[in-house]
Symmetry: C2
Subunit: 225 residues, 2 copies
DNA sequence: TAGATTGTTAATCGATTAACAATC
DNA sequence: TAGATTGTTAATCGATTAACAATC
């Protein structure tokens, strides 16, 4: 039953494929070749075929790929053909902003609870969801079959909360706290370290200035990594 | 004057080094060897030495690295020893959350303006900054020597706004809109595609479940990529 | 059938890890 | 000086690109 370990580089490109396929689908385009898609996405046809064949043969020789079919298959691979149930831990500005961002729900990521340790904010209702106290978190997660916890709390309390989450059987943590979480390895952690991202941008600003203004041709940029 | 093109993989690890070095510094630790640091950060001593030597020799044989000195040097490399001036484009939930997140300012990323196309929100003051109308954006950026624009607007208007930003000489775009921005290549774009990140997490959830619950040892996780 | 385009193997490129001589 | 640890070269590993036979 050994799966041959698919690289995170490939996984990281799937959402971008999905995005472009969705757009093609909306435009009513039924089929596309790896070459055409690579032109649009500014990548290589080879990479697209190689990436897709990691998961199976979704195309047809002489024809290309059926846009709608490929779209659905990538959704299945990513596991977003089924709903996920989320809780937000930390009802601060960022936590509230995420709850208010309706696109996640459109993709099947359903916010079911919001928790905070500040009694002052508990009881407040955000997009129909009442903020509960942290003490209720563990029971709520177990009783409501929650998949994913979104950590939007300061780094000082993040490690402690992550341990509690591990204890109540959470499967994944979407971590916005600026710290690495030491959790059992059956728990998946996806980090969004915003300040790291901003520092990378800062580096690229300085280094591009050193190079001395190059030619100014328009060039669509690729995915983040 | 040819610089030998430093890989984004290395750049992406620098903020994490900086974070751990900052912690060591706060603990009063003066020196550290690549081996000790790699133990703490769950990486290899080889990688740390290789990464640092991309930029120069910061250590000393037989001694290791001076924590405080290395910390400062990485700050310089990342270009965060100087202030950056930012504007937020899009005063929605996410835009407001970012303005309210004080840690960015602590690292020298100063929010100087907020813009929105909705006249209803213009005039509102967020953390001391008055929301201005989009029409004022171009002049404001030129007059206030703005480095970086943060795009927290829907994808539908992001491309158009990115073009305007290019015209008024912005240097970098921190892009939260779920779209690839076609801008001249002297403009640096750093994408934060939150839904892509969530989809990656979703994939890793499904794939880890297929593997069948493995052993449950604690294991600190590495940086995102 | 002939042309197009995939799936897949082989070649190349880049990034990580290992090894060790240089040196503090 | 002897021990420790870097800086750097060499070896390995993995990811990307190129090539082409299989096949629709």
């Amino acid at each position: 039953m050994e799966e041959k370990e698919i690289s995170q580089a490939v996984i990281g490109r799937l959402p971008r494929y999905l995005r472009y396929l969705g757009e093609l689908k909306d435009e009513g385009i039924e089929r596309i070749s790896s070459q055409e898609l690579s032109d649009i996405m500014q990548t290589t046809a080879s990479q697209i075929r190689q990436d897709l064949n990691t998961f199976g043969g979704f195309g047809q020789q002489g024809y290309g790929y059926n846009v709608s079919y490929l779209y659905d298959e990538i959704r299945k691979i990513l596991g977003i053909d089924k709903e996920h149930r989320l809780v937000i831990i930390g009802a601060g500005h960022l936590g509230q902003a995420l709850v208010n961002y309706t696109n996640f729900e459109r993709r099947g990521f359903m916010f079911r609870g919001i928790f905070d340790c500040d009694p002052g904010i508990c009881g407040k209702v955000i997009r129909g969801i009442r903020v509960r106290h942290m003490e209720e978190m563990a029971d709520f997660i177990r009783e409501n079959d929650i998949d994913i916890a979104v950590l939007t709390i300061p780094k000082t309390s993040a490690v402690e909360v992550a341990k509690k989450l591990a204890d109540c059987g959470i499967k994944g943590i979407w971590n916005f706290a600026h710290v690495d979480l030491p959790v059992p390895k059956q728990i998946q952690v996806e980090n969004v370290h915003l300040s790291d991202s901003l520092m990378k941008l800062s580096y690229n600003l300085s280094s591009s200035q050193e190079e001395g203004a190059a030619d100014g041709k328009v060039d669509s940029n690729g995915q983040n990594r």
